[in-house]
């Protein structure tokens, strides 16, 4: 999972997702549906709880509505820029 850093990068997100669904990070398609790639709701909750420790005020609901890694990164990026 993420190192003990203050920021969450897109690569780190990709790596964390890959670990959850049991594939290599480069196999995670950024523009494909994460559900279709095998991510289930429990794994999403695990990821969000973890990322929530790094980024305060992460809006879980927006993650649930978003479909792809690109979408997720957009949300995480905005939250960290705010």
């Amino acid at each position: 999972m993420t190192q003990d850093t203050e920021v969450l990068t897109k690569d780190q997100m990709r790596a964390d997702i890959a670990a959850q669904i049991g594939v290599a990070p480069e196999e995670v398609e950024a523009e494909e549906s994460l559900v279709d790639q095998g991510l289930d709701s429990m794994q999403v909750m695990t990821l969000l709880m973890h990322w929530g420790e790094t980024i305060k005020g992460l809006d879980f609901a927006r993650f649930m509505e978003a479909e792809t890694l690109d979408d997720w990164w957009q949300i995480a990026h905005e939250a960290q820029s705010a």
Binding site: G22, V35, D36, G38, S41, M42, T46
Partner: protein, 1305 residues
């Protein structure tokens, strides 16, 4: 006029998820089971205003709470009603003695209340005040509007809004609009991904076989469900997380997989698949929200998909869990594809066509909302329908985990619901720590003890002795008693003793003694009884042979049994066997010797049963075993002097053993039926009467024939025993209806001394067949799965027997004996017998027989190994391959069908001939079907399911549709399914392309045709045309249309305008059928007289009658205006009801009097005498009585009505009396009646051709009504209700009274 608000033009079709729920709800509109509900306990100071505001706010934000639904010709639709969400209702229970208990009851009652989907609201929020600092917020939302996740969203939002109001902090954003959920679905429907998902599912399910449930019966939701909950221990929770981490899976998947493994333990095993890892098909609800714009929309999205899970109990647990998790991940990747669509596409709709078995649902998130200043606690009341069983795991797994079983009460009782929850929790606690699943017991420790020990505590002291010793003791006690009757012959005990000894001494003189076998091949006769007694007295065992069966089988048996002597009539064909033949005429004529009596462990008899290897096998029973059986029977059923037992069972069938020997050790008399009599019900009944028989035995199929014979009616038989086949419950009921006596169901294989379990069969037995009961003395029964583990109650297991009655084994077949009599794993040093029968146990341990675990069948009670016939077929040398099946024929009876691949040039006739020489007639196939090659399954084995339907059925011409209901259904199926011609009787609606929408259309069509709603549920249960016709006819007979309320037009699920049509003098309201048909759009309900029931008390006035009718009408029409109509005297009653209704404050909408005149017109007329009342039947039947002056007597008139085919002529006599009584009494009441004035306007239909010069005119009603309008018809009184006038009247009735525009002519 009460009517529904119109459906808005912008109403939307339902989503796929909603359609599934809609059609399920549509099957049973009143059922509350689709309400999801929960109760939130709030402790602490509550700000009521803040909560009220929060509920109001959530009502505005969660649009689903304003949804409304309706059925339209294009299918069901939904729309949002303005301000359609419910407001918070406050109910104060703090004044109750026990507010918590009162709230619990009230909340449950509220949860089970139905909702009005058309008028709304579809949800409700109630705050129950228990104490100043204790409240409960109950929430209920129809599943069409919200799923479990939506409920969580809404509840949390209420908590958030409440907390914001209390703390002054701003709440987060509200919910996205409802439309977003429909857009998300539309997006998926158009996406290429959907095609991929569809392909995945079709491939995954292509090989799906019949999906079994854990309980017998169809999974059709009841109105509510049973629930049981058991918490999982902290140790198990820790282990769950450790195991999940170890395997790299999420713990929810681990739980789901293990729950599936438990389900597998509760499913029946298909014959031949004992060694195959079992597959279960779970239903898995997926939230179906992630990654979609619908994620946070309160709506119903949940999607139940089938998960095929193969349970490999021998794999290391971690390996198997990984494998299982892969299947779950694959399912989720294709989880947007709707289960409802799959059901349709895979043709998994209707009886016996499940898409999946039990549901397994893991809800890992804590759904309890936080509310400022309050301690909250959540209770889930309902989460939608429970079709079968739903296993739910609630909790985050860390702080707690609840195992919950919700069960359909139609399939499971509360006790079995509790047992499943407890057993699953126990199973999980063990499985989580086990290296693999094979060693995990299915039962809890307590259940194991109960099953193996408590239920088998049958120990009873029985002396170690022999049939010979017991019989000699009885002879000594009652030497002069009548022992034996055969035709005109009668033997006392002393005479039987003498003749038996003579034979025994003769046999001993031939060197026969203990350990020897003597064959007995005699027809029923005194000689047969003496032969059996003589053989056992000589110390030998008898082996009975059928004197009529000279097939090759006899040679086999003789070769195996190696009898030293054959007791048979001269000329017996011993098939080359060398043993001397000793015919009865020669008994006592040869060398004599003192016999050596047998010991308790010497064989008493050897019985041959069908053997799968092609030759029969000889079962050796010792004296000690059969003595236990007979002494138990004597004690259990109190046999003694005075009992007269009929011997009618062939000696080759083990039931005969107790018939032969029980009488002589209990002092009873044995009456031997003449040969052949056992097949003739009339001869049997005569025999029973002539000989005052107190006891006899039937194989159930013979009992059915016997009970069907008129001669069996009214017989008195104290003890009737049934065994040999499952005893159908309806047969037991029939027995008690015809015969005075008790019926006992016994069960047991030849290998365990005749019978090992017993149970009395009463008139009302709940299941399809009478249970086989519980074990007899010194006997144990075990129900085990293929790995030898005891199975739970209600689950089919293989029945094993142990104890004193077990056979020694098979004669000369030690290997087979070892195989079928393995060591008893539960009692060291003992053996058990593998019956190959399947049975299940009820909660009280009572066993019920289900069928065979192998390919053995019973034909008319006789055990037959299909393998034996197959081996014989192959032995003829005429066929290359043979397979014998025993499918049920159209009457449900098993029939032997042989499939063969004949060798070149061999005709079927030749095969049949060869077979007949080798098999007794009972083993001859009813059909021999030649095939070029056998169909094989992928593993290369014979694919039995792919064998063609046998000639037996195909040679019969395909039946045409019968007239009446079948013909009607044939047309209706074709119309709805879009087929050019009426379909065949065997058409399955769903298999022929019917889906839910078409099913609704079909029921609507049938409503129009039949005048009543057959019910969508009925169609789902019996989709096959001929079955449905039968069911509808049976129901029609049940509803004889003579009840107090008769539906004259199709019942509507929603609430259309109802018109109540009041019966005329005769009490029956059928005369309004034509009018009801013409009045489309209104529901016409006939009100009929209680006087049709001969036991009903006479009303004292017309007003009190009207009062009762008004009660009935109010019950059917609780609000809105009441519409009434009545013909003739029925008009007077309708007017009286209108007066009563107005007095009650009800508005009377329409009051239509069909040629009725106020009671004053009749006051001075003579009351009709019985003759006149009888002639009134003519008028009631639609005839003008004056046209038939010659019809005077009741017989004349009823005969005339029957001839003309009028249903009145077909009525039971009591009802015909009722009609006459109603005519007289109604006339009497009218004469003392005085009209009150009603406010409502009145429509009078005037038959102008009658009443001339009588002064009867519509104007007579003016003093008694708000207004009188008249429809003039050029007809006579009797013709007002004819079809010809129905349209005219309907037109006038339809014109609303408010419009004040009635037609005059």
């Amino acid at each position: 006029m009460s009517s529904l608000p119109p459906v808005p033009a912008d109403a939307q079709p339902l989503s796929e998820a909603q359609k599934g729920i809609w059609y399920a709800q549509r099957r049973d509109m009143g059922s509350p089971v689709f309400m999801t509900g929960q109760a939130l306990s709030l402790r602490g100071p509550l700000d009521l205003a803040a909560l009220s505001a929060a509920v109001a706010q959530v009502g505005a934000e969660a649009e689903c709470l304003s949804l409304r639904f309706a059925e339209t010709p294009d299918g069901p639709v939904q729309w949002l009603a303005a301000d359609g969400a419910p407001a918070l209702v406050v109910r104060d229970l703090s004044g109750e003695a026990d507010p918590e208990a009162a709230a619990s009851v009230a909340i449950k009652a509220e949860a089970k209340g139905p909702v009005d989907l058309h008028n709304g609201p579809v949800a409700g929020f109630t705050l129950w005040v228990l104490a100043p600092d204790h409240h409960i917020l109950s929430e209920r939302i129809h599943h069409l509007a919200a799923d479990g996740y939506a409920m969580v969203l809404i509840t949390n939002r209420i908590g958030e809004l409440y907390s914001a109001a209390c703390t002054g902090r701003a709440p987060g954003p509200g919910f996205p609009p409802y439309a977003q959920s429909l857009e998300a679905e539309a997006k998926y429907l158009a996406a290429p991904k959907r095609d991929k998902d569809r392909a995945y599912w079709h491939e995954t399910l292509a090989t799906l076989g019949v999906v079994e449930g854990m309980a017998a019966g169809e999974p059709v939701s009841d109105h509510w469900f049973h629930r049981a909950e058991v918490p999982l221990s902290a140790a198990a929770r820790d282990r769950l997380h450790a195991l999940a981490a170890e395997v790299g899976l999420n713990w929810a998947d681990v739980l789901s997989a293990l729950a599936g493994a438990y389900v597998a333990r509760c499913l029946p095993v298909a014959p031949g698949e004992e060694d195959v890892p079992r597959e279960v098909v779970l239903g898995v609800p997926l939230m179906n929200r992630m990654g979609s714009k619908a994620a946070r929309v309160p709506c119903t999205m949940v999607n139940v998909l089938p998960l095929r899970l193969t349970v490999r109990e021998d794999l290391p647990l971690v390996d198997w869990l990984s494998e299982a998790a892969q299947g779950m991940a694959a399912m989720r990747r294709h989880g947007k594809y709707r289960g409802e669509a799959l059901r349709r596409e895979m043709q998994r709709i209707g009886a016996g066509k499940r898409l999946h078995g039990p549901l397994v649902n893991v809800l890992p998130f804590d759904a309890t909302p936080k509310m400022a200043g309050l301690e909250t606690q959540l209770q889930i009341l309902g989460a939608g329908s429970v079709d079968d069983i739903t296993f739910c795991f609630r909790g985050d797994g860390q702080s707690g985990l609840l195992v919950q079983a919700d069960c359909n009460p139609r399939l499971y009782d509360l006790a079995s619901t509790q047992a499943h929850a407890t057993r699953l929790a126990t199973y999980l606690e063990a499985a989580l720590f086990a290296p693999d699943l094979a060693g995990v017991p299915t039962l809890t420790q307590a259940e194991t003890v109960q099953h193996l020990v408590t239920r088998n505590a049958t120990g009873h002291s029985v002396p170690e002795t022999t049939l010979v010793a017991l019989t000699r003791a009885q002879i000594a006690a009652t030497p002069e008693a009548e022992a034996l009757v055969f035709g005109a012959e009668r033997l006392t005990y002393a005479e039987l003793d003498r003749r038996s000894d003579t034979l025994a001494r003769h046999l001993a003189g031939q060197g026969i003694g203990p350990g020897d076998v003597v064959a007995v091949a005699l027809p029923r006769s005194v000689a047969l009884i003496v032969a059996l007694q003589g053989v056992i007295r000589a110390g030998a065992a008898y082996v009975p042979l059928d004197p009529e069966d000279a097939s090759a089988r006899r040679a086999d048996m003789l070769a195996r049994a190696m009898p030293k002597v054959i007791l048979a009539e001269a000329g017996f064909d011993a098939a080359g066997h060398v043993a001397p033949l000793l015919p009865p005429a020669l008994w006592g004529t040869g060398a004599q010797a003192e016999p050596t009596p047998p010991g308790p462990h010497d064989p008493a008899y050897v019985l041959f049963t069908s053997g799968s290897t092609g030759t029969p096998k000889g079962v050796v029973i010792e004296h000690d075993a059969i003595v236990n059986r007979l002494l138990w029977m004597q004690a259990e059923y109190n046999f003694g002097p005075g009992d007269r037992i009929l011997q009618k069972t062939p000696a080759t069938f083990d039931v005969s053993v107790w018939e032969f020997f029980l009488p002589f050790l209990s002092g009873a008399t044995l009456v031997v039926a003449p040969p052949g009599a056992h097949r003739d019900p009339s001869a049997l009944a005569q025999l029973i009467r002539d000989h005052a028989i107190t006891t006899l035995h039937f194989v159930p199929s013979m009992l059915a024939l016997f009970l069907a014979a008129p001669a069996s009616q009214g017989l008195q038989i104290a003890k009737v025993f049934a065994s040999g086949e499952a005893l159908p419950a309806h047969l037991a009921a029939q027995f008690h209806a015809r015969i005075e006596g008790r019926l006992h169901n016994l069960y047991g294989p030849t290998e365990a001394a005749v019978d090992v379990t017993y149970r009395e069969a009463r008139a009302e037995e709940p299941g399809a067949s009478v249970p086989i009961g519980t074990p007899v003395w010194n006997t144990r029964t075990y129900l085990l799965d293929p790995r030898g583990r005891p199975v739970p109650d209600g689950v089919a297991g293989r029945l094993y027997l142990a104890g004193r009655q077990l056979a020694r084994g098979y004669l000369g077949q030690p290997d087979l004996t070892a195989e079928r009599f393995p060591a008893d794993p539960f009692v060291p040093g003992e053996r058990m017998y593998d019956t190959g029968d399947l049975a299940f146990a009820a909660a009280d341990g009572t066993l019920t027989y289900i069928g065979r675990a192998d390919h053995q069948v019973k034909i008319r009670g006789v055990r037959i190994e299909l393998g034996e016939i197959e081996a014989v077929l192959e032995g003829t040398g005429l066929v290359a391959q043979a397979a014998v099946l025993a499918p049920a024929d159209h009457l449900g009876q098993a029939q032997l069908v042989a499939y063969v691949v004949p060798r070149a040039g061999v005709e079927v006739a030749a095969i049949r001939e060869a077979l007949a020489a080798r098999l007794p007639s009972m083993m001859m196939p009813a059909a021999i079907v030649p095939l070029q090659a056998f169909p094989l399954n992928p593993s290369g084995k014979l694919d039995r399911k792919a064998l063609p339907a046998p000639q037996l059925f195909a040679s019969a011409p395909a039946r045409a549709l019968r007239d009446g209901t079948e013909a009607l259904l044939g047309r209706a199926y074709a119309e709805v399914l879009g087929l050019p011609a009426p379909v065949a009787p065997e058409t399955d609606f769903f298999a022929a392309g019917g889906d839910s929408l078409k099913a609704v259309r079909l029921t609507l069509l049938l409503e129009e045709e039949l005048g009543r709603d057959p019910g969508l549920g009925t169609l789902f249960e019996v989709p096959v045309l001929a079955d449905l016709a039968r069911k509808l006819d049976a129901e029609a007979q049940h509803d004889d249309g003579l009840g107090p309320v008769v539906h004259l037009s199709p019942r509507k699920g929603d609430a259309p305008r109802r018109l109540f049509a009041i019966h005329p003098a005769g009490g029956i309201a059928w005369c309004y059928r034509g009018l009801a048909r013409a009045l489309k759009g209104a529901e016409v309900i006939g009100i009929q007289s209680p006087l049709l029931d001969p036991d009903a008390p006479l009303p004292d006035s017309l007003s009190s009658l009207a009062h009762d009718y008004c009660d009935r009408i109010e019950a059917l029409c609780p609000s809105g205006p009441i519409h009434l109509l009545g013909w003739s005297l029925g008009g007077i009653i309708a007017h009286a009801i209108a007066a009563e209704a107005e007095a009650r404050g009800r508005e009377v909408g329409q009051l239509v009097l069909l040629d009725a005149y106020p009671s004053e017109c009749w006051r001075n007329e003579p009351e009709p005498d019985e003759g006149a009342a009888i002639r009134a039947l003519l008028a009631i039947a639609g005839h003008d009585p004056d046209a038939y002056p010659h019809l005077v007597t009741r017989t004349d008139i009823l005969g005339f009505l029957r001839e003309t085919g009028h249903p009145l002529g077909q009525l039971p006599e009591a009802v015909q009396h009722g009609v006459v009584r109603s005519v007289q009494q109604t006339n009497r009441l009218v004469r003392s009646h005085r009209e009150r004035r009603v406010v409502a306007p009145l429509l009078h239909v005037h038959a102008r051709l009658d009443h001339a010069g009588t002064g009867r005119s519509p104007d007579l009603w003016r003093p008694y009504a708000g207004d009188v309008r008249v429809l003039e018809l050029e007809c006579r009184h009797a013709d007002v209700v004819s079809d010809a006038n129905a349209l005219r009247i309907a037109q006038a009735v339809r014109a609303a009274p408010a419009q004040r525009r009635l037609e005059h002519s």
